[in-house]
Amino acid sequence: MAAANQPSPSHPADSLMGLAGPRVLRLLIAAVIAIVGLVAALVLPLAFVLIAACGLAIVTLASRNARLQRYAFQAAFAAVIILVGRVLVSNLTTELDKTNLESLPFVDLSGSFPFIDFSMDFLDRRAGFGLPETSFGQEYTENNSYGDAYLAGLLNTLRVAIIGIFLASIVGLAAGVARLSNNWLLSKLATVYVETFRNVPLLVQLIFWYTAVILKLPKIQDDASFLNVILISNRSVAVPGMNTSDGFGLWLLLLLAVAAISIAVWYLRNQSQETTGKPSYPAWSAAGVFVVLGGATFLLTGSPMTFELPELIGRSHEGGLQVTPEFTALLLGLTLYTGAFIAEVVRGSIQAISKGQTEAASALGLNGFQRLRLVILPQALSIMIPPLTNQYLNLAKNSSLGVAVAFPDLFRVTKITINQSGQTVPMILLVMVTYLAISMLISLIMNVLNSRVRIRTR
């Protein structure tokens, strides 16, 4: 270490433990001490932890040895945290004992090591309740288990979150750019949209979309149809779906090859554009190749996919792809609410790019759209992504408001399971961990994207 011979007590990494040796070893020792301390604190009586914390605090104050002070301060701090946790946990367990909810103690201090009973056996029990919709082709009936119901809720949440993030990004980008437009009407419209949707609570918006818009669509018997292709009613909106037959798998494989060829075309045309400086329309060429070759292979494999039109049978739409009003209301609410925030992120990021960039692009002879796509947006993107991540996280978490419009999302299924099985504490912990995992996954993806964007532009 370069600064080893200099006294540097303020450097956090050095002062944390104050021990010699490689950093990994020190971390290991710290981890062992932490675990031993935690276990000891859980086993030892409350009063003992209290006395230890007091003693350590006194040592911190009285000692004149700087290193000892640091140790004692850390230990006293840890003791206080453990004390608070200990009081909360034992409060929970004794209250549960009082109510005879024997199946509940998830954290069982009276039991043997390791104190935490991770038995989630109840998830295998028959659920007994149905769900009005599932996602990604999952089959679920009331004869499936609580675990399957939980999965169905999770998939429903993911479906609305993924589609919502996609649509909100488009809406936000369009509105953000429109707000900066020179077209007076367009920019004022965008302003009205952003200010309205940003400033009305999401729950109110969801109830509005569900009860005042979606449920007011035509009743199922007199559903509106668009050329018999799209059927609209307040029970479902149905669009044509796909039916696959033999050869579909083969066609998909061939399609992959076609996609590879198209990318190669795009790459080559792009290179030629960059070397010659003449526009070679790489995207258009690639798309053309993809459509022509894709169509050819489709016919070669014997047209393995047919469209299926939805129809009204009895009191429901059959065939095709159907979207329930609950899903539509939630998706609409999440998209427009988050889109308004994203619009502001987009606007701010664009305005953060120096005006000289726009002027230089104009000087090069680029038109408005080219300026935006080739010069401004690529630079704005690197500023945009961190605040955008926040918005995506908000959207994913806000999807739990779907309970207000009867959408069977993760939180709804959790609440039903709690009511039917009585397993409050395990289910709440499980759903918290699940939302945490979803959020961290989004953060991870966005961080990867962020680092890529930054490398390319700076």
């Binding site: 009586p45 409350l46 009063a47 209290l50 914390a53 007091c54 605090a57 006194i58 911190t60 104050l61 301060f73 006293a76 701090f77 003791a79 206080v80 004390l83 608070v84 009081v87 909360l88 034992s90 409060n91 004794t94 209250e95 009082k98 109510t99 005879n100 909810l101 199946s103 007994g128 309740f129 149905g130 769900l131 009005p132 009936t141 009331e142 109830i207 569900y210 009860t211 449920l215 007011k216 009743k219 199922i220 307040n234 029970r235 009895g314 009191r315 429901s316 009003p325 609950e326 309970v403 207000a404 009867a406 069977p408 709804r412 609440k415 039903i416 709690i418 009511n419 039917q420 009585g422």
Partner: protein, 373 residues
Amino acid sequence: MRTKKLLIGVAIIAAVLAIGAIACSSDDDDDGNGDTPIATDAGDNGNGDASGSVLDEVIARGTLVCGVNNSVPGFGFVDADGNFSGFDVDFCHAIAAAVFGDPDAVEFSPQTAETRLPAVQTGQVDVLIRNTTWTLTRDVATGLTFATTTYYDGQGLMVRSTDGFTSVDSLADATICVLSGTTTELNLADRLPGSTALGFEDNDTLQTAFIEERCDGWTSDKSQLAGRRSEFPAEAGGPDSLVILEETFSKEPLGPVTIDNDATWSQVVDFVAIGMIVADELGVTSANVADMAANPPNVRVARLLGVAFGEEGAAAFDAELGISAQFMQDVISMVGNYDEVYEANVAPIGIPREGTLNASWLDGGIIYSPPWK
């Protein structure tokens, strides 16, 4: 630097002492058992502690805290002025009349389907009278005590009369609106496994969806359906546009609920309800209770009203519930007997008592009381 550290140290000690004070004070309450943590709140009832009955607390407080429904007309409903009314609500009044001689010494605490049981467990309410079904799990595992059944209910299905559904089976593949997280939701899946259950958080959003024909049927306890039907908005067709199908596909005995391990209090709640049924059987009503108390026609009436019967100087019967021996006089004169409460609340929403399970056993029903002796 030194001052800063000192400040931090003082802050830590203050925090530790504060937590310690909380922890220690609760230790004192619990006989110095160092492992016992703080109680949930100051209003804790000391559940399971034989020495302090909820009855003592209620008397000391001067009001009864009664958990009720606020959205089921006829059973527990709050009107625009904030007044509670209904069959269940009248039993709250009856208990208050028995304990205090004042039927209005009640504080109503509206409970949802999800909060009602924890409210009893934590002592937030003294008694829960909110169309709550008596089940084995709730009685045993959830730690509750159910008083006598005051209303025999069962799950039914309500449909629009124009839709042409005539039996529960005809809704085999229909969409049905239901309150989610209830036993109703499970019964529906058992009875109509092919149907689509659309679960709502609250009755009001559910009714909106039902009016817009998002679903074909609405399932719930028949008493609740009758209540919602009686208040169905005229713009949406009014009560006559709806039919409650005849079939009942579950057993739902409803009654007052108290916390386990408090026999003193549970018996007061239980025997106030039983006393109202006895009064119905004996023909004691709010109109004639004063005369009957002054001049009891037979020994059974005398025992119910806690007055002497027979030769001069004979001792009056005392139920020994820890409240006034004449408590049933107050209950009947101030609130009424079972039949009066039923006729005032349930009959108006379209469920006459005659011919149902809730008729007296003397009239072919199953409302039946143990002997009052």
